[in-house]
């Protein structure tokens, strides 16, 4: 089936496996974008593009794409084999899941942290709280840059493993245990449909107006 996003070819300059099955792929930035936006990626010009959030900052020279291998998909197993100087088809950036300078909660599961990493690297993290959910202790991608800056405002919710640094449990459990969530701040959610929908229900139950909840779902 033909693609309906306009794609251009880019050359990969680096590919790193940052956790088992999880990669960061980089290419030279061909356009300007706003932190939080997505791009379409495909192996061929005529393939159906899949959407990924950009994980690098607005002023960085390189664009980073954080992804994990979906064994049932076609694109990510192929992408994971790419090396420096291989090519990939990319759309222009688009989307309006954008952060701003106001205090807010950034809540993500898995690779859903990507748009927040982009906002973080753009310098929007000063008055933010990041809640990141993952299964294992190695699931907290980019913790090496987030933790030193945000300290106690960076909560890692780990469902399968435990350590003194993490909250042992899911994001939803963490949110349920909170007794005074500010109702006038914005809550940004990004990740799987299941996490976003469940977390949104809990926030609403805790009195956050739905107007203050902004979600991005990976599909």
């Amino acid at each position: 089936m033909k693609t309906k996003l306009k794609l251009t070819k880019v050359k990969i300059i680096r590919q790193r496996e940052i956790a088992p099955g999880v990669f960061v792929l980089s290419f030279i930035r061909p356009w300007d974008f706003t932190a939080g936006q997505v791009v379409g990626l495909a192996g061929n010009e005529n393939d159906e593009a899949r959407l990924y959030s950009i994980a690098s900052g607005e002023l960085d020279e390189e664009v980073d794409i954080l992804y994990n291998i979906n064994p049932e998909g076609k694109l990510t197993p192929w992408m994971a084999q790419l090396n420096t100087a291989d090519t990939l088809w990319v759309s222009e950036p688009f989307g309006s899941f954008k952060g701003d300078g106001e205090p807010a909660w950034w809540i993500a599961s898995g690779t859903g942290i990507a748009p927040f990493v982009s906002m973080f690297r753009t310098g929007l993290h000063k008055n933010k709280k990041i809640i990141h959910g993952g299964r294992d202790l190695h699931s907290f991608y980019f913790n090496e840059i987030i933790e030193p800056e945000l300290k106690e405002n960076y909560i890692r919710c780990c469902s399968r493993e435990n350590s003194p640094e993490v909250f042992h449990g899911r994001i939803t459990q963490y949110l349920k245990e909170q007794t005074s969530l500010p109702t006038n701040e914005k809550y940004y959610l990004c990740g799987s449909a299941e996490m976003v929908v469940d977390a949104r229900d809990i926030l609403i139950e805790k009195g956050i107006p739905f107007n203050n909840i902004i979600s991005e779902i990976y599909f």
Partner: protein
Amino acid sequence: MSTVKEPLFGKSKDELTQLSTDLGLPAYTGGQLAYWLYKTDVDSFDLMTNISKKTRALISEHYVLGINPPVSVKESVDGTKKYLFNAGNGKFIEAAYIPDGKRHTLCVSSQVGCKMGCLFCMTGKQGFQGQLSPGEILNQLRSIPERALVTNIVYMGMGEPFDNLQSVMKSSAILTAEYGFAISVRKVTVSTIGIIPAMKVFLEESKCNLAVSLHTPFEDERRKLMPVQNVYPIKEVIDTITKYDIGKYRRVSIEYIMFKDVNDTRRHVNELARLLNKVNCRINLIRFHSIPGTPLESSSEETILDFQKALNAKGIVTTLRASRGQDIEAACGLLSTKELVKKKKDSNLITE
């Protein structure tokens, strides 16, 4: 070692012909199979009487029919019926049959659960469990007792059809093909929240009707109700539609659920008129059917009727959809197999 046999139901006539010749059978066997699959209610190879016994045995060695009756049905006081299907691997889906005078509509699901997470939808609350194949979509029509009565098909059940484009394109092609169910393209509607790339493919390659869930013309309001707005804004969805020749053969309708104090003011009427200015479409207003834990409420009847009148006065044909099957949770936005998903998860935990 046993291998899982592929189902025949959901394959196009070309595919049936190809697999017949691959088995060393005459090409016309494909046409015979298409006839039995799509024109009759036969549910066993044994009943395909114009195909020789030997040929039937050969086919059934390699394939199963793939026609599965619903596992349960609930009937509403208004005659609406909700069918539950087991799509295998703990996947359950629902379809709603809505008789209304001469029009008998079947609302089919395209996915198990949904990834789109709209704030007002019950299906969204169960997350996403899987895609349906073309056969699993068509089986919702083939396997119900009212099959022959159905005049209209709407892809408005569980799931976002354009997140499962290939199955939706293929199933709608079989629905409308002469060799298939032979339903007119004017009687088939695919409903989307506006996934633009897939919608373009649909508009180019299918002649079926399109319905777009709009729910508010204002960007900032819409992103709070429908996360997809962040990626595919409604203005771009509408701009895209205007580039196609709509209205002559194909109908585009705009779905608009009425939420109290959220999207039901004069400001919304004016902006809707501006947004839809260049599109030949009609608006369907829908009463909101409340779901647990929602911060939203339905607009009052008076507000809804006023809203409808105001839009009609602006020259936009606006209808109010009757709420059907509310007592059996078959009405718009209420389809869900969440409890069954939960049960499956719990039983996995016990056996793990």
